[in-house]
């Protein structure tokens, strides 16, 4: 194998590992701009991964599985939104409980059931795939990857250019002022969580029926948390957030590739490496002063 092939392979797997994170990151970014620290991102991804595999196995269609994953993400977003932004339960507690619940539930369900393997089909773009080095990694992918080309600019547009996004930002910055202006603060926050749930669900489902074709216990392995970290250290800017995801994806790919390249390292240490690297890199770029001012704070009318 040539060095170019090695690089191409690492890029290729790096991109595949980045895609689920990127979907979830678009969701989490929007939710946080609206003021929700959505810890249950992990639950959304893991639940969707399980749901997509189960549905794909039952229906025989990986695409149906993908849709089911999105629906499960939406459901968790709905539950989180109503608990946190209607019943005023602490958002962090809601997130932790949902994460523990989904992890336990999926771990149990996978031991009592067996699923057929299904994967969504691959699309390879003519001409472009022949570009040396990056052609294969970028243009021979499972089809949901190409949804990102839509989702990223759409998320940006929604937040920065649409009226809905303007109101989301207002709600994330100064909910009392937004309320006085006539914006339904908690409704906007619930809506943001639905968007987040749908995208995190898509990311989780892609991981399962896109990449792997099956579900295993704790399949997301903290990727939800990595995405949350990426949003924070990306200083609530979409570009930087996605960059953080790419970084983690590539580091993860390196971990998988190193043994194949003949480098042997302590395998436990290798598993930790991408998380550590992502953390370090993001720390370097950390700026806090762009944080939505009301991030993580519940809104109750009349309390100032």
């Amino acid at each position: 194998m040539s060095a170019a092939d090695d690089i191409s392979t690492i890029l290729s797997s790096g991109i595949r590992l980045t895609v689920p994170l990127a979907f979830a990151a678009c969701g989490e970014y929007l939710a946080e701009r609206a003021g929700t620290m959505n810890i249950s991102l992990e639950a959304m991804m893991l639940g969707a991964a399980f749901g997509s595999v189960a549905t794909a196995s039952a229906t025989g269609s990986a695409t149906t599985g993908l849709v089911a994953g999105v629906l499960i993400g939406l459901l968790i977003g709905f539950v989180h939104g109503n608990l946190a932004h209607r019943l005023e339960v602490n958002t962090f507690v809601v997130g932790l409980v949902l994460n523990a619940l989904v992890l336990g539930l999926t771990s149990f369900l996978i031991t009592i059931s067996s699923f057929d393997s299904h994967q969504v089909s691959q699309v390879s773009v003519p001409w472009l795939r022949d570009i040396p080095l990056i052609g294969h990694p970028l243009f021979v992918e499972r089809w949901p990857v190409y949804l990102l080309i839509l989702v990223i600019p759409l998320t940006w547009w929604l937040v920065e250019r649409s009226r809905w996004g303007l109101e989301l930002r207002a709600v994330g910055e100064q909910p009392q002022a937004a309320d006085v202006t006539g914006i339904h603060v908690n409704l906007r926050r619930r809506q943001a969580l639905l968007w987040c749930g749908a995208l995190a669900g898509l990311g989780g489902a892609y991981l399962a029926v896109g990449e792997v074709g099956s579900f295993n216990q704790n399949m997301t392995a903290g990727r939800g948390y990595i995405v949350i970290a990426a949003v924070i250290f990306g200083a609530w800017r979409l570009g930087r957030t996605l960059l953080g995801c790419v970084l983690f994806g590539l580091a993860d790919a390196m971990r998988l590739a190193l043994p194949a390249l003949g480098l042997t390292l302590n395998s436990q240490l290798l598993v930790v490496a991408p998380y550590l690297l992502a953390l370090l890199a993001m720390l370097v770029f950390a700026t806090r002063n762009r944080e939505p001012k009301a991030l993580g704070q519940p809104f109750v009318r009349g309390s100032t």
């Binding site: 009226r163 100064q174 202006t181 009349g302």
Partner: protein, 533 residues
């Protein structure tokens, strides 16, 4: 003049724009609004006067759909209407400029102005509208500026533009001048007069400042404890009459007069009462300052919030630091609470520099502080009166790591008696005390440590007249007992009533220090506006 405007002018001035009948609202046992009737007419500025907690804000929140009334009717003209949320209020043509602005700092001017509208965003059109409204009313503003970069006066303009763009027939302003300089207040009232006279809108002006009400309004309604107690044409009443109605008894005390804005601020103020300890003689020349601030600079996010601020306070002297809100006073208060470190400069207490980066250093060096925001840094609301009182002297009530409840209660009872703290018991959470009593808890704790310096930051904010009077007397007593008092206040009357010297702060700088004798409203106004006098 357009046909529309002419038509409005022909409307008899007596047509009520808004009519409230029997509005009541209770919060648990507290009656915030008690059977209130109010008529507001087109073409008039209607003053709504009352002390803090008299129910002015609740009434307006009901009008805006932010709070639901328990009973009563709201009528636009002759039609009863239902205002169940803020959108409904906008649809009815009721707009409000809020006391603590409703602007989002992180957004631009035009984004803030269109917030709450519906439909597609059109940036160019929004900017055009902002410019148009700003030209029509003489409120210059850059539509693309971010709001957190604007001064308080400019923010007020944005609020007004935001309201006026929606063409409200009733415009409500809640304590609009509390953060404005005199020039900015004058500009505001010019706009309001235009809005009322030329455009025949109705304006409700909420205030607790008598001078403002008398100068700017056509009619006035006084609220006390949620009830309408007085109603008159402004020209047919006098400030003392209004003050009496507002407080519910004759106002004779100097402190109360000051609290209500009755001091003749444009003339030379009366000399300080003898024996109150506020006279300049207490700070005889040559006395070493108890508090010395030297070249304090604080830079936050690249913005100099305080720049080269220097000030001395001698023992037994009350120095007033006067300025419009948001000119660095809060940062100075935070700095003297040990919450913010200066970028450069020193704080000396009794001639010795304090190591500000060590927690509690200021307290140990003999500095007591009544913080501006007593709920967040003055008391712990959910802890008991006793616990709050001994909080800074835990060593006195504990041994071997245990707190002696007996000793704690003994100290608390003594302080409560000495400072007239009215509380059901020493174990009552501070949250359930009135604002005045909460403030007495803070004052008792700070003075019981025997400080050489007392910082009082907005010490009478949100207190009723009785509590204000009490606070004034305590501060005077502290000063005559030899404590150096730095009074940070945005109320001119308060500073005039208490201080022997007045330092004026503007944009984080001291623009001048005047003795109370030489301080006139004009000179102070210039200094507040940043012009050295």
């Amino acid at each position: 003049m357009t046909d529309d405007e002419r038509a409005r002018e022909l409307t008899p001035p007596s047509a009520p724009a808004l009519r409230l009948r029997g509005i009541s609202k209770r919060y648990g046992p507290v009656v915030a609004s008690d059977n209130v009737d109010l008529d507001v007419h087109h073409g008039e500025i209607h003053g709504l006067l009352g002390e803090n907690g008299a129910g002015k804000s609740t009434l307006m929140k009901i009008l805006l759909g932010l709070v639901q009334r328990d009973s009563g009717t709201i009528m636009r003209g002759e039609t009863p209407v239902d205002v169940h949320n803020p959108q409904a209020a906008v649809a009815l043509g009721i707009g409000m400029v809020h006391q603590h602005f409703s602007l989002i700092d992180a957004l631009t001017v035009w984004e803030n102005v269109i917030l709450g509208d519906t439909g597609k965003i059109d940036r160019a059109a929004a900017c055009r509208q902002v410019e148009e409204v700003s030209r029509r009313y003489g409120l210059p503003i850059d539509p693309t500026a971010r709001v957190d970069r604007l001064s308080a006066g400019e923010r007020q303009r944005v609020e007004l533009i935001k309201c006026l763009r929606r063409d409200p027939s009733v415009l409500i302003l809640d304590e609009p001048t509390s953060v404005l300089t005199q020039a900015e207040s004058a500009e505001l009232f010019t706009v309001l007069r235009h809005v009322v006279r030329a455009e025949n809108r109705a304006v409700i002006l909420i205030s607790h400042k008598l001078a403002e009400i008398t100068a700017a309004t056509d009619r006035v309604t006084v609220l006390r404890k949620g009830k309408v107690v007085f109603h008159s044409e402004t020209s047919a009443t006098t400030p003392p009459e209004l003050a009496r109605q507002m407080v519910g008894r004759d106002v004779s005390l100097r402190a109360e007069g000051a609290a209500l804005g009755m001091l003749p601020v444009d003339g030379a103020p009366a000399p300080a009462d003898p024996g109150t300890g506020t006279g300049t003689d207490a700070a005889a020349p040559g006395t070493a300052p108890a508090l010395r601030l030297r070249d304090l600079t604080v830079t936050i996010d690249g913005v100099a919030v305080l720049s080269d601020l220097s000030l001395d306070v001698a023992p037994g002297e009350i120095v007033g630091l006067y300025g419009v809100e948001g000119n660095g006073q809060s940062t100075l208060g935070d700095l003297l609470s040990g919450l913010v470190l200066p970028t450069s400069g020193t704080v000396e207490l009794a001639g010795r520099p304090v190591e500000l980066d060590r927690p509690g250093a200021l307290h140990r060096a003999g500095l007591g502080i009544i913080p501006e925001d007593r709920h967040s840094s003055g008391v712990v609301l959910d802890m008991s009166v006793a616990e709050n009182l001994v909080m800074k002297s835990i060593g006195d009530v504990s041994g071997r790591g245990f707190i002696s409840r007996r000793r704690m209660h003994a100290i608390a009872r003594r302080l409560a008696a000495e400072f007239n703290i009215v509380t059901p018991s020493m174990d009552t959470p501070v949250r359930s005390l009135s604002g005045g009593n909460q403030q007495r808890v803070v004052l008792a704790r700070e003075l019981s440590a025997g400080p050489g310096v007392l910082i009082a930051a907005q010490p009478t904010h949100g207190l009723d007249v009785g509590a204000i009077e009490d606070m004034y007397q305590r501060l005077r007593d502290a000063a005559s007992g030899g404590v150096a008092v730095l009074l940070i206040s945005t109320e001119l009357e308060e500073v005039m009533a208490l201080a022997s010297r007045i330092a004026v702060i503007s944009s984080g700088r001291i623009t001048g220090v005047l003795s109370t004798g030489e301080a006139t409203a004009e000179r102070l106004g210039m200094l507040v506006g940043g012009v050295a006098a």
